[in-house]
């Protein structure tokens, strides 16, 4: 997660703004890991401070507060999603290729490091209202991007009788859930998981047999 350094500059509003960015990146990385493991509310500032070898007061040299720390991590995760998933997928012209890009890239990201991305969806209620509105808005945009892609597939005749909203949410659920069961040191390797999930996602929305095509309603 070396990209965290640059991300911190981008979300500078949450940090003191003068401290060593490498050290701050290390702190944010550890915070994300602990928030992910124990949950935001169950994690104390002391837990994070201890993990980076500081006292609580020492940690406050680098952060403005617990909620700002959470928002910075979630903003970073959202930036990551934008840069690694949404932007590359947007460059795909074919709707089906675009869908495959979304799913495989998002799944890949989660197998690489799920901390920040998982916090992004699980700890929304820990944010201040304004920050929460910001994050939720960006998440909504993402789901709409997927729904639009499904709608484009429908216009091509490749999808019949599927509500794009339900489809988009279902795919997102499938992808996000990966962080709950995938372990880098487990039986399954990341390439296999990404490929399999992508195949399932595409199969879930594409109609390939007459049976579904003939009976779009019900």
């Amino acid at each position: 997660m070396t990209a965290l350094d640059s991300a911190l500059h981008a979300t500078g509003r949450t940090a003191t703004g003068e401290a060593d960015p490498d050290r701050r990146a290390e702190i944010y990385r550890n915070a994300a890991r602990i928030f992910h493991r124990k949950g935001y509310h169950a994690t104390s500032i002391n837990d994070i401070a201890a993990a980076v070898g500081l006292t609580k007061a020492g940690l406050y040299y680098y952060i403005k507060g617990k909620q700002d720390l959470l928002f910075a991590i979630m903003s970073f995760a959202m930036d990551q999603l934008d840069a690694q998933v949404i932007e590359p997928a947007r460059r795909e012209q074919e709707p089906q290729a675009r869908l495959e890009a979304i799913v495989s890239r998002h799944a890949r990201l989660i197998t690489q490091d799920s901390s920040a991305l998982t916090i992004l969806v699980n700890e929304l209620e820990g944010l201040l209202p304004d920050d929460r509105a910001d994050i939720i808005g960006r998440q909504r945009d993402y789901v709409e991007f997927i729904a639009d892609t499904l709608a484009a597939l429908r216009d091509e005749g490749k999808v019949l009788g599927l509500d794009p909203t339900i489809g988009a949410f279902s795919l997102v659920g499938m992808i996000l859930w990966i962080s709950r069961w995938y372990r880098a040191d487990g039986r399954l390797d990341a390439d296999e998981v990404v490929a399999e999930v992508t195949r399932m996602a595409v199969a879930a929305v594409l109609n390939r047999n007459a049976e579904q095509a003939e009976d779009p309603d019900e």
Copy 2:
């Protein structure tokens, strides 16, 4: 959620055991709602007490502690899953019918009342180790039940080149995610959501075209 009453008798180990079961059911119902909305750690005993018109001390007449309350709710949710999803599905002999029963029944349950079922997956770290082991074990059994169903489909030749474990987890993710976006008062109605999700789930795992059947590896 009237079935809560009987569930409470079943999980009597967590309550004082003498108090009015109706009142206790009301308390558990409210607790589940608030845990669901704010999260376990962000919810104080006072929040729950106030919601049922008691003081904190008064509430302790009915419950043994915060963690026991959580475990009771999760046990109830797991009982619900057993009775409404797993048992009925087990009675389906055909693997495909069984899969459809699992998905549609589980999805239906979530559209009806997601509180307890959502707590079941999101608040595991709030439990004592022994209780957590209990719940995780039951959840693992459920995923294995789905994986076995997928394996049976594979043995029938209806599924090719799909890892049953990945498939089972992905379907579970799709289903559980419903509680995050479905609103009973929203644009989509429950029947539509259940039907659509079930169709997607089946499509995701069944191979219906030659393309997939010819190339199981990769």
